[in-house]
Protein backbone atom coordinates (compact mmCIF):
# COMPACT_ATOMS: atom_id res chain seq x y z
CA UNK A 1 0.00 0.00 0.00
CA UNK A 2 2.71 2.47 0.98
CA UNK A 3 5.86 1.97 -1.10
CA UNK A 4 8.67 0.42 0.88
CA UNK A 5 11.29 2.45 -0.93
CA UNK A 6 9.77 5.69 0.41
CA UNK A 7 10.22 7.27 3.80
CA UNK A 8 7.47 9.20 5.55
CA UNK A 9 6.81 12.17 7.80
CA UNK A 10 4.20 12.66 10.52
CA UNK A 11 2.65 15.34 8.31
CA UNK A 12 2.01 12.80 5.57
CA UNK A 13 4.75 13.61 3.10
CA UNK A 14 6.88 10.92 1.43
CA UNK A 15 10.42 11.05 0.09
CA UNK A 16 12.22 8.66 -2.21
CA UNK A 17 15.95 8.98 -1.82
CA UNK A 18 18.40 8.11 -4.59
CA UNK A 19 21.92 8.92 -3.40
CA UNK A 20 21.82 12.62 -2.56
CA UNK A 21 18.63 13.36 -4.51
CA UNK A 22 15.18 13.12 -2.98
CA UNK A 23 11.77 13.13 -4.69
CA UNK A 24 9.04 14.44 -2.42
CA UNK A 25 5.26 14.12 -2.46
CA UNK A 26 2.19 13.78 -0.25
CA UNK A 27 0.80 10.41 0.74
CA UNK A 28 -2.42 8.72 -0.27
CA UNK A 29 -3.68 9.32 3.28
CA UNK A 30 -3.09 13.04 2.88
CA UNK A 31 -4.98 13.30 -0.41
CA UNK A 32 -7.92 11.37 1.04
CA UNK A 33 -8.06 13.75 4.01
CA UNK A 34 -7.95 16.79 1.74
CA UNK A 35 -10.67 15.76 -0.70
CA UNK A 36 -10.65 17.14 -4.24
CA UNK A 37 -7.41 19.06 -4.71
CA UNK A 38 -7.86 22.17 -6.81
CA UNK A 39 -4.61 24.11 -6.47
CA UNK A 40 -0.96 23.60 -5.59
CA UNK A 41 1.67 26.21 -4.72
CA UNK A 42 5.26 25.03 -5.06
CA UNK A 43 8.72 26.63 -4.82
CA UNK A 44 10.98 27.27 -7.82
CA UNK A 45 14.11 25.44 -8.87
CA UNK A 46 17.01 26.88 -6.92
CA UNK A 47 14.91 27.65 -3.80
CA UNK A 48 16.10 26.24 -0.49
CA UNK A 49 13.99 23.92 1.61
CA UNK A 50 14.50 23.12 5.28
CA UNK A 51 13.52 19.94 7.11
CA UNK A 52 10.21 20.28 8.99
CA UNK A 53 9.51 23.69 7.44
CA UNK A 54 6.82 24.45 4.93
CA UNK A 55 7.73 24.71 1.26
CA UNK A 56 4.32 25.07 -0.32
CA UNK A 57 0.60 24.47 -0.04
CA UNK A 58 -1.99 22.07 -1.38
CA UNK A 59 -5.54 23.36 -1.53
CA UNK A 60 -8.87 21.60 -1.64
CA UNK A 61 -12.17 23.40 -2.19
CA UNK A 62 -12.54 23.83 1.54
CA UNK A 63 -9.04 24.23 2.92
CA UNK A 64 -5.41 25.25 2.56
CA UNK A 65 -2.89 22.68 3.72
CA UNK A 66 0.79 23.42 4.19
CA UNK A 67 3.38 20.92 2.95
CA UNK A 68 6.43 20.33 5.10
CA UNK A 69 9.77 19.24 3.73
CA UNK A 70 11.16 15.95 5.05
CA UNK A 71 14.70 17.16 4.37
CA UNK A 72 16.91 20.20 3.85
CA UNK A 73 18.43 21.06 0.51
CA UNK A 74 17.97 22.84 -2.81
CA UNK A 75 15.05 22.36 -5.19
CA UNK A 76 16.30 20.91 -8.49
CA UNK A 77 12.98 20.15 -10.19
CA UNK A 78 9.30 21.05 -9.79
CA UNK A 79 6.41 19.00 -11.19
CA UNK A 80 4.83 21.48 -13.59
CA UNK A 81 1.91 19.19 -14.48
CA UNK A 82 0.29 20.06 -11.18
CA UNK A 83 -0.56 23.63 -12.18
CA UNK A 84 -2.89 22.40 -14.92
CA UNK A 85 -3.80 19.11 -13.27
CA UNK A 86 -3.94 19.40 -9.49
CA UNK A 87 -6.35 16.46 -9.49
CA UNK A 88 -3.35 14.19 -10.18
CA UNK A 89 -2.58 14.52 -6.49
CA UNK A 90 -5.79 12.67 -5.76
CA UNK A 91 -5.40 10.02 -8.42
CA UNK A 92 -1.66 9.30 -8.27
CA UNK A 93 -0.03 10.89 -5.20
CA UNK A 94 2.85 8.39 -5.00
CA UNK A 95 4.07 8.57 -8.60
CA UNK A 96 2.83 10.98 -11.28
CA UNK A 97 2.00 13.69 -8.69
CA UNK A 98 5.47 14.01 -7.14
CA UNK A 99 5.91 17.62 -6.02
CA UNK A 100 9.59 18.54 -6.06
CA UNK A 101 13.04 17.04 -6.37
CA UNK A 102 15.69 18.17 -3.95
CA UNK A 103 19.45 17.93 -3.70
CA UNK A 104 19.95 16.85 -0.08
CA UNK A 105 22.29 19.03 1.96
CA UNK A 106 22.33 16.51 4.80
CA UNK A 107 21.48 12.92 3.78
CA UNK A 108 21.54 11.86 7.47
CA UNK A 109 18.23 13.67 8.05
CA UNK A 110 16.43 10.83 6.29
CA UNK A 111 17.16 8.51 9.20
CA UNK A 112 14.70 10.45 11.37
CA UNK A 113 11.81 9.57 9.04
CA UNK A 114 9.41 6.64 9.22
CA UNK A 115 9.55 3.46 7.14
CA UNK A 116 6.44 2.38 5.25
CA UNK A 117 5.62 -0.07 8.03
CA UNK A 118 5.98 2.59 10.70
CA UNK A 119 3.88 5.02 8.66
CA UNK A 120 1.08 2.51 8.17
CA UNK A 121 1.03 1.89 11.90
CA UNK A 122 1.05 5.63 12.52
CA UNK A 123 -2.03 6.14 10.33
CA UNK A 124 -3.86 3.20 11.87
CA UNK A 125 -3.30 4.57 15.35
CA UNK A 126 -4.44 8.01 14.26
CA UNK A 127 -7.66 6.63 12.81
CA UNK A 128 -8.58 4.69 15.91
CA UNK A 129 -8.63 7.87 18.02
Amino acid sequence: MYPEEFQYTKDHEWIRVDGDTGTIGITDHAQKELGDIVYVELPKSGDAVTAAETFGTVESVKAVSEIYSPVSGEVTAVNNQLQEHPELLNSDPHAAAWLIRVHLSDPQEVQKLMSSEQYEKYIREGESQ
Binding site: G35, D36, V38, Y39, V61, K62, V64, Q83
Partner: protein, 369 residues
Protein backbone atom coordinates in the same frame (compact mmCIF):
# COMPACT_ATOMS: atom_id res chain seq x y z
CA UNK B 1 -33.91 19.10 16.35
CA UNK B 2 -31.13 18.07 18.70
CA UNK B 3 -29.71 14.83 20.00
CA UNK B 4 -26.68 15.84 22.01
CA UNK B 5 -23.59 13.64 21.81
CA UNK B 6 -22.98 13.66 25.57
CA UNK B 7 -21.70 17.15 26.18
CA UNK B 8 -20.53 17.68 22.61
CA UNK B 9 -22.11 19.27 19.56
CA UNK B 10 -25.75 18.59 18.72
CA UNK B 11 -26.72 16.03 16.11
CA UNK B 12 -29.70 15.85 13.79
CA UNK B 13 -31.88 12.74 13.64
CA UNK B 14 -29.98 11.72 10.49
CA UNK B 15 -26.51 11.61 12.07
CA UNK B 16 -26.10 7.83 11.75
CA UNK B 17 -27.43 7.87 8.20
CA UNK B 18 -24.77 10.40 7.25
CA UNK B 19 -22.04 8.36 8.90
CA UNK B 20 -23.25 5.17 7.19
CA UNK B 21 -23.22 7.03 3.87
CA UNK B 22 -19.53 7.76 4.47
CA UNK B 23 -19.95 11.48 5.08
CA UNK B 24 -17.01 13.45 6.40
CA UNK B 25 -18.45 15.26 9.41
CA UNK B 26 -17.61 18.65 10.81
CA UNK B 27 -18.71 20.91 13.63
CA UNK B 28 -20.81 23.83 12.44
CA UNK B 29 -22.71 26.28 14.64
CA UNK B 30 -22.74 23.84 17.53
CA UNK B 31 -23.88 20.92 15.35
CA UNK B 32 -22.05 17.89 13.97
CA UNK B 33 -22.96 17.99 10.28
CA UNK B 34 -21.93 16.32 7.02
CA UNK B 35 -19.45 18.43 5.07
CA UNK B 36 -19.36 16.12 2.06
CA UNK B 37 -20.28 12.60 1.00
CA UNK B 38 -18.70 11.91 -2.40
CA UNK B 39 -16.90 15.25 -2.65
CA UNK B 40 -17.82 18.93 -2.59
CA UNK B 41 -17.22 19.48 -6.30
CA UNK B 42 -19.25 16.47 -7.38
CA UNK B 43 -22.13 17.35 -5.03
CA UNK B 44 -22.10 20.99 -6.14
CA UNK B 45 -22.30 19.99 -9.82
CA UNK B 46 -25.09 17.50 -9.04
CA UNK B 47 -27.19 20.34 -7.59
CA UNK B 48 -26.55 22.59 -10.59
CA UNK B 49 -27.36 19.87 -13.15
CA UNK B 50 -29.73 17.46 -11.42
CA UNK B 51 -30.60 17.64 -7.70
CA UNK B 52 -29.08 17.38 -4.26
CA UNK B 53 -30.61 16.42 -0.91
CA UNK B 54 -29.48 18.41 2.12
CA UNK B 55 -30.11 17.70 5.79
CA UNK B 56 -30.66 21.20 7.13
CA UNK B 57 -32.39 20.12 10.34
CA UNK B 58 -29.90 22.17 12.33
CA UNK B 59 -31.68 25.35 11.20
CA UNK B 60 -34.01 26.96 13.74
CA UNK B 61 -37.74 27.55 13.58
CA UNK B 62 -39.40 30.21 15.71
CA UNK B 63 -43.18 30.60 15.66
CA UNK B 64 -44.83 34.01 16.11
CA UNK B 65 -48.58 33.87 16.73
CA UNK B 66 -51.59 35.74 17.99
CA UNK B 67 -53.25 39.08 17.23
CA UNK B 68 -49.96 40.94 17.89
CA UNK B 69 -47.83 38.76 15.63
CA UNK B 70 -47.76 41.13 12.65
CA UNK B 71 -47.06 44.23 14.72
CA UNK B 72 -44.25 42.46 16.51
CA UNK B 73 -42.63 41.14 13.35
CA UNK B 74 -42.86 44.56 11.71
CA UNK B 75 -41.05 46.10 14.67
CA UNK B 76 -38.15 43.63 14.76
CA UNK B 77 -37.51 42.86 11.05
CA UNK B 78 -36.47 45.12 8.20
CA UNK B 79 -38.66 43.75 5.42
CA UNK B 80 -42.38 44.57 5.11
CA UNK B 81 -44.27 41.67 6.66
CA UNK B 82 -47.61 43.29 5.77
CA UNK B 83 -46.92 42.53 2.11
CA UNK B 84 -47.13 38.79 2.73
CA UNK B 85 -50.18 36.82 1.70
CA UNK B 86 -51.13 33.57 3.38
CA UNK B 87 -48.53 30.91 2.55
CA UNK B 88 -45.99 33.41 1.31
CA UNK B 89 -42.45 33.88 2.63
CA UNK B 90 -39.83 36.63 2.47
CA UNK B 91 -36.10 36.89 3.03
CA UNK B 92 -35.49 39.32 5.90
CA UNK B 93 -33.32 40.09 8.91
CA UNK B 94 -33.83 40.33 12.66
CA UNK B 95 -32.54 43.76 13.64
CA UNK B 96 -30.20 45.39 16.12
CA UNK B 97 -30.81 49.07 16.95
CA UNK B 98 -27.69 50.07 15.00
CA UNK B 99 -29.07 49.01 11.62
CA UNK B 100 -27.14 45.74 11.67
CA UNK B 101 -28.68 42.27 11.83
CA UNK B 102 -28.61 39.78 14.66
CA UNK B 103 -29.44 37.18 12.01
CA UNK B 104 -30.84 36.91 8.51
CA UNK B 105 -33.93 34.78 8.16
CA UNK B 106 -36.96 33.78 6.12
CA UNK B 107 -40.33 34.91 7.51
CA UNK B 108 -43.29 32.73 6.55
CA UNK B 109 -46.93 33.78 6.94
CA UNK B 110 -49.38 30.91 7.50
CA UNK B 111 -52.16 33.37 8.10
CA UNK B 112 -52.75 36.76 9.69
CA UNK B 113 -52.04 35.56 13.24
CA UNK B 114 -49.65 32.72 12.50
CA UNK B 115 -46.03 33.09 11.30
CA UNK B 116 -42.81 31.17 11.56
CA UNK B 117 -39.26 32.32 11.02
CA UNK B 118 -36.47 30.06 9.79
CA UNK B 119 -33.18 31.20 11.34
CA UNK B 120 -29.55 30.13 11.25
CA UNK B 121 -28.50 27.15 13.35
CA UNK B 122 -25.67 28.99 15.11
CA UNK B 123 -27.97 31.85 16.12
CA UNK B 124 -31.24 30.15 17.06
CA UNK B 125 -31.03 30.50 20.83
CA UNK B 126 -29.60 34.01 20.68
CA UNK B 127 -32.31 35.07 18.19
CA UNK B 128 -35.10 33.66 20.34
CA UNK B 129 -33.83 35.46 23.43
CA UNK B 130 -33.62 38.70 21.47
CA UNK B 131 -37.18 38.33 20.19
CA UNK B 132 -38.49 37.57 23.68
CA UNK B 133 -36.67 40.58 25.09
CA UNK B 134 -38.20 42.89 22.48
CA UNK B 135 -41.70 41.50 22.54
CA UNK B 136 -43.45 44.50 24.08
CA UNK B 137 -46.15 44.04 21.43
CA UNK B 138 -47.21 40.82 23.13
CA UNK B 139 -46.95 38.23 20.37
CA UNK B 140 -46.90 34.52 21.30
CA UNK B 141 -43.36 33.28 20.68
CA UNK B 142 -42.05 29.74 20.67
CA UNK B 143 -38.67 28.28 19.80
CA UNK B 144 -40.09 25.32 17.91
CA UNK B 145 -36.76 24.10 16.50
CA UNK B 146 -36.78 20.76 18.30
CA UNK B 147 -40.13 19.96 16.71
CA UNK B 148 -38.82 20.16 13.16
CA UNK B 149 -36.48 18.32 10.90
CA UNK B 150 -35.79 20.11 7.64
CA UNK B 151 -34.67 18.60 4.36
CA UNK B 152 -33.90 20.56 1.21
CA UNK B 153 -34.14 19.18 -2.33
CA UNK B 154 -32.40 21.62 -4.66
CA UNK B 155 -31.72 21.57 -8.38
CA UNK B 156 -33.44 21.62 -11.78
CA UNK B 157 -34.90 18.13 -11.14
CA UNK B 158 -36.21 18.97 -7.66
CA UNK B 159 -39.83 19.60 -8.69
CA UNK B 160 -39.97 16.49 -10.87
CA UNK B 161 -38.61 14.35 -8.02
CA UNK B 162 -40.89 15.78 -5.36
CA UNK B 163 -43.98 15.49 -7.53
CA UNK B 164 -43.55 11.71 -7.23
CA UNK B 165 -43.94 11.82 -3.45
CA UNK B 166 -46.45 14.58 -2.81
CA UNK B 167 -50.02 15.20 -3.90
CA UNK B 168 -49.43 18.94 -3.79
CA UNK B 169 -49.53 20.56 -7.21
CA UNK B 170 -46.00 21.96 -7.22
CA UNK B 171 -46.63 24.10 -10.29
CA UNK B 172 -49.02 26.14 -8.15
CA UNK B 173 -46.29 26.98 -5.63
CA UNK B 174 -44.17 29.87 -6.87
CA UNK B 175 -40.72 30.71 -5.52
CA UNK B 176 -40.92 31.90 -1.90
CA UNK B 177 -44.41 30.46 -1.44
CA UNK B 178 -45.24 27.38 0.62
CA UNK B 179 -48.03 25.06 1.66
CA UNK B 180 -48.91 22.47 4.28
CA UNK B 181 -48.45 19.20 2.42
CA UNK B 182 -47.81 15.52 2.75
CA UNK B 183 -44.46 14.45 1.39
CA UNK B 184 -43.47 10.78 1.41
CA UNK B 185 -46.64 10.20 3.44
CA UNK B 186 -45.53 12.59 6.19
CA UNK B 187 -47.38 15.79 7.05
CA UNK B 188 -45.37 18.96 7.00
CA UNK B 189 -44.74 22.25 5.26
CA UNK B 190 -43.29 22.30 1.75
CA UNK B 191 -41.71 25.64 0.82
CA UNK B 192 -40.24 26.67 -2.51
CA UNK B 193 -37.21 28.23 -0.88
CA UNK B 194 -33.53 27.43 -0.75
CA UNK B 195 -29.97 28.63 -0.44
CA UNK B 196 -28.37 27.29 -3.62
CA UNK B 197 -29.51 29.55 -6.45
CA UNK B 198 -31.42 26.66 -8.03
CA UNK B 199 -35.12 25.86 -8.01
CA UNK B 200 -35.90 23.71 -5.02
CA UNK B 201 -37.96 23.00 -1.96
CA UNK B 202 -37.50 22.79 1.78
CA UNK B 203 -39.65 20.38 3.75
CA UNK B 204 -40.33 20.98 7.44
CA UNK B 205 -41.71 18.00 9.38
CA UNK B 206 -41.61 16.09 12.69
CA UNK B 207 -38.16 14.63 13.44
CA UNK B 208 -39.33 11.07 14.13
CA UNK B 209 -39.92 10.65 10.39
CA UNK B 210 -36.46 11.84 9.38
CA UNK B 211 -34.96 8.52 8.31
CA UNK B 212 -38.08 7.53 6.39
CA UNK B 213 -38.34 10.82 4.49
CA UNK B 214 -34.59 10.91 3.72
CA UNK B 215 -34.67 7.38 2.30
CA UNK B 216 -37.97 7.88 0.47
CA UNK B 217 -36.67 11.02 -1.22
CA UNK B 218 -33.47 9.31 -2.34
CA UNK B 219 -35.53 6.42 -3.69
CA UNK B 220 -37.91 8.77 -5.53
CA UNK B 221 -34.98 10.70 -6.96
CA UNK B 222 -32.90 7.71 -8.01
CA UNK B 223 -33.67 7.93 -11.72
CA UNK B 224 -33.21 11.69 -11.72
CA UNK B 225 -29.78 11.46 -10.10
CA UNK B 226 -30.72 12.86 -6.67
CA UNK B 227 -27.82 12.48 -4.26
CA UNK B 228 -26.97 13.61 -0.73
CA UNK B 229 -25.08 16.92 -0.55
CA UNK B 230 -23.32 18.38 2.46
CA UNK B 231 -22.51 21.75 3.97
CA UNK B 232 -19.38 22.09 1.86
CA UNK B 233 -21.42 22.17 -1.35
CA UNK B 234 -24.10 24.25 0.38
CA UNK B 235 -21.46 26.90 0.92
CA UNK B 236 -19.98 26.88 -2.58
CA UNK B 237 -23.48 26.93 -4.08
CA UNK B 238 -24.65 29.93 -2.05
CA UNK B 239 -21.40 31.74 -2.78
CA UNK B 240 -21.83 31.32 -6.55
CA UNK B 241 -25.37 32.65 -6.11
CA UNK B 242 -24.04 35.66 -4.18
CA UNK B 243 -25.99 34.89 -0.97
CA UNK B 244 -24.82 36.18 2.38
CA UNK B 245 -23.77 33.90 5.21
CA UNK B 246 -24.27 35.33 8.70
CA UNK B 247 -20.94 35.65 10.45
CA UNK B 248 -19.25 36.41 7.14
CA UNK B 249 -21.10 39.03 5.01
CA UNK B 250 -23.36 39.93 7.92
CA UNK B 251 -22.53 40.53 11.54
CA UNK B 252 -23.41 42.90 14.35
CA UNK B 253 -21.12 45.61 12.97
CA UNK B 254 -22.26 45.57 9.35
CA UNK B 255 -25.39 47.40 8.29
CA UNK B 256 -27.78 45.88 5.81
CA UNK B 257 -27.05 48.67 3.33
CA UNK B 258 -23.33 47.92 3.45
CA UNK B 259 -24.16 44.25 2.83
CA UNK B 260 -26.07 45.00 -0.39
CA UNK B 261 -29.34 44.08 1.32
CA UNK B 262 -31.06 47.43 0.86
CA UNK B 263 -33.63 45.54 -1.19
CA UNK B 264 -35.02 43.83 1.92
CA UNK B 265 -35.03 47.06 3.95
CA UNK B 266 -38.45 48.62 3.56
CA UNK B 267 -37.65 51.87 5.32
CA UNK B 268 -41.04 53.34 4.37
CA UNK B 269 -43.04 50.59 6.12
CA UNK B 270 -42.89 52.44 9.44
CA UNK B 271 -40.87 52.26 12.62
CA UNK B 272 -38.63 49.23 13.22
CA UNK B 273 -35.54 48.51 15.28
CA UNK B 274 -32.53 49.89 13.43
CA UNK B 275 -34.53 51.99 10.98
CA UNK B 276 -33.06 55.38 11.95
CA UNK B 277 -29.40 54.46 11.37
CA UNK B 278 -30.42 52.96 8.01
CA UNK B 279 -32.31 56.11 7.03
CA UNK B 280 -29.27 58.16 7.95
CA UNK B 281 -26.94 55.85 6.04
CA UNK B 282 -29.19 55.89 3.00
CA UNK B 283 -28.95 59.68 3.08
CA UNK B 284 -25.22 60.00 3.78
CA UNK B 285 -23.95 56.94 1.96
CA UNK B 286 -22.17 53.85 3.25
CA UNK B 287 -18.49 53.81 4.13
CA UNK B 288 -17.83 50.22 3.11
CA UNK B 289 -19.59 48.06 0.55
CA UNK B 290 -19.85 44.36 -0.17
CA UNK B 291 -18.51 43.46 -3.60
CA UNK B 292 -18.02 40.29 -5.59
CA UNK B 293 -14.68 39.50 -7.20
CA UNK B 294 -12.98 36.82 -9.22
CA UNK B 295 -9.28 36.09 -9.21
CA UNK B 296 -7.40 37.50 -12.21
CA UNK B 297 -4.33 35.33 -11.66
CA UNK B 298 -3.72 31.91 -10.09
CA UNK B 299 -4.59 31.67 -6.43
CA UNK B 300 -7.59 31.15 -4.19
CA UNK B 301 -8.88 33.90 -1.91
CA UNK B 302 -10.07 32.58 1.44
CA UNK B 303 -12.28 33.92 4.23
CA UNK B 304 -10.44 36.56 6.19
CA UNK B 305 -7.71 37.40 3.65
CA UNK B 306 -6.93 41.12 3.41
CA UNK B 307 -7.88 43.14 0.34
CA UNK B 308 -5.36 45.72 -0.88
CA UNK B 309 -6.25 48.74 -3.00
CA UNK B 310 -3.70 51.24 -4.30
CA UNK B 311 -0.91 49.58 -2.32
CA UNK B 312 -2.72 49.75 1.01
CA UNK B 313 -4.64 47.25 3.07
CA UNK B 314 -8.22 48.47 2.53
CA UNK B 315 -10.68 45.65 3.09
CA UNK B 316 -11.38 42.03 3.90
CA UNK B 317 -12.54 38.89 2.13
CA UNK B 318 -15.67 37.62 3.91
CA UNK B 319 -16.09 34.47 1.84
CA UNK B 320 -13.65 33.07 -0.72
CA UNK B 321 -13.47 29.75 -2.47
CA UNK B 322 -13.16 27.95 -5.77
CA UNK B 323 -16.50 28.01 -7.63
CA UNK B 324 -17.00 24.44 -8.89
CA UNK B 325 -19.60 25.24 -11.54
CA UNK B 326 -18.14 28.50 -12.81
CA UNK B 327 -14.62 27.04 -12.68
CA UNK B 328 -13.15 30.23 -11.29
CA UNK B 329 -11.92 31.31 -7.89
CA UNK B 330 -14.36 33.86 -6.49
CA UNK B 331 -15.16 35.74 -3.32
CA UNK B 332 -17.10 38.42 -1.52
CA UNK B 333 -15.30 41.24 0.24
CA UNK B 334 -15.87 44.56 1.95
CA UNK B 335 -14.04 47.47 0.37
CA UNK B 336 -14.27 51.26 0.88
CA UNK B 337 -17.39 52.51 -0.87
CA UNK B 338 -15.46 54.70 -3.31
CA UNK B 339 -13.50 51.66 -4.52
CA UNK B 340 -16.59 49.49 -4.95
CA UNK B 341 -17.13 49.19 -8.67
CA UNK B 342 -16.74 46.55 -11.37
CA UNK B 343 -13.44 47.08 -13.12
CA UNK B 344 -11.74 48.66 -10.11
CA UNK B 345 -8.67 46.51 -9.49
CA UNK B 346 -7.99 45.01 -6.12
CA UNK B 347 -5.41 42.56 -4.90
CA UNK B 348 -5.91 39.82 -2.37
CA UNK B 349 -3.13 39.11 0.11
CA UNK B 350 -2.78 35.34 -0.21
CA UNK B 351 -0.34 34.37 2.52
CA UNK B 352 2.95 35.96 1.41
CA UNK B 353 1.97 37.45 -1.96
CA UNK B 354 -0.47 39.82 -3.63
CA UNK B 355 -2.76 38.28 -6.25
CA UNK B 356 -4.80 40.44 -8.64
CA UNK B 357 -8.57 40.22 -8.64
CA UNK B 358 -11.31 41.99 -10.57
CA UNK B 359 -14.60 43.15 -9.15
CA UNK B 360 -17.65 41.69 -10.86
CA UNK B 361 -21.37 42.34 -10.77
CA UNK B 362 -23.32 40.01 -8.50
CA UNK B 363 -24.53 37.36 -8.61
CA UNK B 364 -21.71 35.26 -10.01
CA UNK B 365 -24.27 32.67 -11.11
CA UNK B 366 -27.91 33.00 -12.08
CA UNK B 367 -29.84 29.88 -12.95
CA UNK B 368 -31.10 29.57 -16.52
CA UNK B 369 -34.76 30.60 -16.98
Amino acid sequence: MATPAESGPKRTALYSIHKEAGARMTEFGGWEMPIEYTGITQEHLAVRTRAGLFDVSHMGEITVRGPKALAFLQSITCNDVARLSNRQAQYSALMFPNGCAIDDCVVHRMDANDYFICVNAANTDKDFEWLVEHNSAGAELENASSRYSQLAVQGPRAAAILSKVTGLDLASIRTYWFSPAECCGVAGILARTGYTGEDGFEFYFAPEHSTHVWNALLEAGKDDGLQPAGLGARNTLRLEAGYALYGHELDENTTLLEANLGWICKLEKGEFLGRDPLLKQRQEGVRKKLVGFEMAEPGIARDGYPVWIDDQKAGLVTSGSPAPFLKKNIGLAYVPAEAAQPGYEITIEIRNRQARARQVILPFYRRPK
